[in-house]
Every structure is written in C-alpha cells, then in structure tokens.
Symmetry: C2
Subunit: 197 residues, 2 copies
C-alpha cells in the first residue's frame, strides 16, 4: 500500500504501547473498512484528552480541573498521603478500595543513569505537600523495582529528617513487578501490612 495517509496512520498507530507493524496495519484497515466513524471518534478523543488533561496542582495526577476530585473530596483522610509513580499506579491502589487517604503522583522515578533527578519527579513539591500540617503519615507505594525502591528510600530519608511518619507498602507485592499489573488482593494486603520506616 503506497497511500501516504494510510502509511502515516500505520506509523502513528505504532506509537501506541504494544502495537507492532502487523497489528497497526490491522487496526488501520479495520477502521477504514468497517469503522470510519470510530476513526473520527478516536481522533477527537485523542485531541480532547491531550488538550484537556493536565496535572492536579496539589497531587500532580491527571485531571481536567486545577485540583483533582480526590484532592477536593472532604471524605478522604487528610492525614494520609500515598506516593505513587504514575496515575496508572494510583488507579490500581484506588481499585483495591483499601485506602481512603490522598495521593501524590511522582510522574516517574529517580533514575540517575537516565538523568532523572529529584526535580524531574517533583520531590520538592512532595516535601512541601507532606509538610502542610495535615499529613501525618506518608505511605510509599512506588514500584518494587530497583529504581522504585531507590526512590522510596530517598523520600523516606528526607521525610523522616523532617519528623514525619513514613511507611512502605508491605513486601506482599512480588519483587521486580510493577503495581499496575499486580492483582488487587496483593495490593490490598500490602496496604494493610505496610511497615514503618
């Protein structure tokens, strides 16, 4: 197929995670042959999400507002702050229904080799949030990978110096895995068993 717009579509679909050239072609053919409306709907959804979704000024998660619904919710326990690497990890913790506090989303993890330092993942913002006077415990729920553990360690040290109680999800979560893909029961158990740091 030499059609430029078809080739461009296949190339663009390959930017999606887990999509190779074969499934990208299959997707493109499917949309053009059976679901042109779907192509338009998806195009608009992409544009609107990319335009409207920004980061909560308090917790840094995805939101369309200045402050996200979780941060605005008076029912949530203001004394607890759960630190996760990504909005997807936050969603995984939320689905356990075992946590009723608030969140701070790092948008990454410390990775000196890739040149990702404390500023890049918003640690200063986290520290001032944690010191707002309301937070009594910070629960570290970064991934149990080498980088996630290192990030948790750096945050724990800094917050303990500032006199805060810091805990880490229990090691119920299998080492080396990423929260997003862990079953809910394991995450729930690790929340209950979180240990003080």
């Amino acid at each position: 197929m030499a059609e430029p717009s078809l080739q461009a579509l296949v190339e663009a679909l390959r930017r999606l995670p887990g999509v190779g050239v074969k499934s990208a072609s299959r997707m493109a053919f499917h949309l053009l042959q059976h679901d042109r409306e779907g192509a338009q709907v998806l195009a608009q959804a992409l544009q609107q999400a990319a335009t409207r979704i920004r980061h909560c000024s308090l917790c840094h998660t995805f939101t369309e507002e200045e402050v996200c619904a979780t941060c605005r919710n008076p029912q949530r326990d203001h004394g607890k702050l759960c630190v996760v690497e990504t909005p997807a990890d936050q969603a995984a913790v939320e689905r356990t229904q075992a946590y009723n506090g608030r969140y701070f989303v790092l948008m990454g993890k410390l990775s000196p080799l890739d040149g990702i330092g404390p500023k890049d993942i918003g640690l200063e913002k986290l520290f001032s949030r944690a010191m707002d006077g309301e937070v009594q415990e910070v629960i570290l729920a970064t991934n149990f990978t080498a980088e996630g553990e290192a990030t948790a360690h750096v945050i724990a040290e800094a917050l303990k110096q500032r006199g805060l109680k810091v805990s880490r999800l229990a090691r119920g979560v299998p080492a080396g895995s990423e929260l997003e893909y862990v079953d809910l029961g394991t995450i729930a158990h690790a929340l209950v068993d979180r240990r003080s740091r």
Copy 2:
C-alpha cells in the same frame, strides 16, 4: 479515574481491534504521560486517512486518487484480475511478489445470514470490470472460509456463464484460515498451483 476526556479516550481506543479495557487504559496513560505529541500525531493521521482514503473507481481498493496506483500501472498484466475480499488480503497477495495482474477488492463476502448480498460486495461492478474485453482470466482469492468459498462459487458460476476463464487459488492455503495471516510462501505456491474452475 473520573475525568470525562480520559474515559472517552479509553472508550475510543477500545474500538481498535484486539484492544480490551486494560490495554486501552495502558495506551491512554502512556500517551498522556509520555507521548502527548504522539496523541496529536495519531489524531491527525486518523482524521487525514478517514478523509483522504477512498475506493478506487476501478478495483475498489483503498486509494487517495480516483484510480489506484496498481490500476494505473501499465506494467501490470491487464489480462489477469485477482478477486480478494479486502485491501489487507490484496496487500498479502502483493507481498508474495508472485502476481503481476490487477485486482478487484470485494470489500466483504457474501453472507446471507447477515443480509450481505451481491450488491453489498459490488459483484455487478466486478462483472462489468471482468467483461471489459482486456481481462482473460479471473483468479478467485477470496478466503478459504465457508463464506469466502461460497462467494468464490457464486462469482465462478456467473463469470463462466459469461464465457470467462476462472481459476481459484490452489488449496495450498490451509482450510478455515484467512489470507491476511497466511505465510507468504503458502500464498505464492497457491497462486502458481491455481486450478481452473
């Protein structure tokens, strides 16, 4: 995640074939967190393809022109017309490099149970194309499924009545399979071994 534009994006991504709610979420998070430019590029590619890609007035395949590059190519053998169900099937035959004739793309197959009859897949158009005086042999390359076989049968009967030579890809292609997913060697072999009908 209660954000409407994020939910809409996940829903829209699920219209892609083979994408469930889990991978749709993963794709949405990935684009918003790591590749917003990719989201915009994909949105534009979808819109442009859906707008620009139409059907060749001669063979019905996808093209941006009135007549596709294959139909316009004077190097292709005008005496042979290969009938396929979809542009993806046409691309599979092209990749074998074992065929130098032209194509007719049905855009589907006969499926009485789903109310898809001869008009819906453009059989009248195929018949007039096959009777243009140049075509000497029609090679039926519909899928080797029940519906593809039935479609081939109907076309073969109609064209033989009109005095044309009709052949079918040899049964080297495994029964029950779809051309798009068959290895190129098998398709090439089936092209060489096509039998007269």
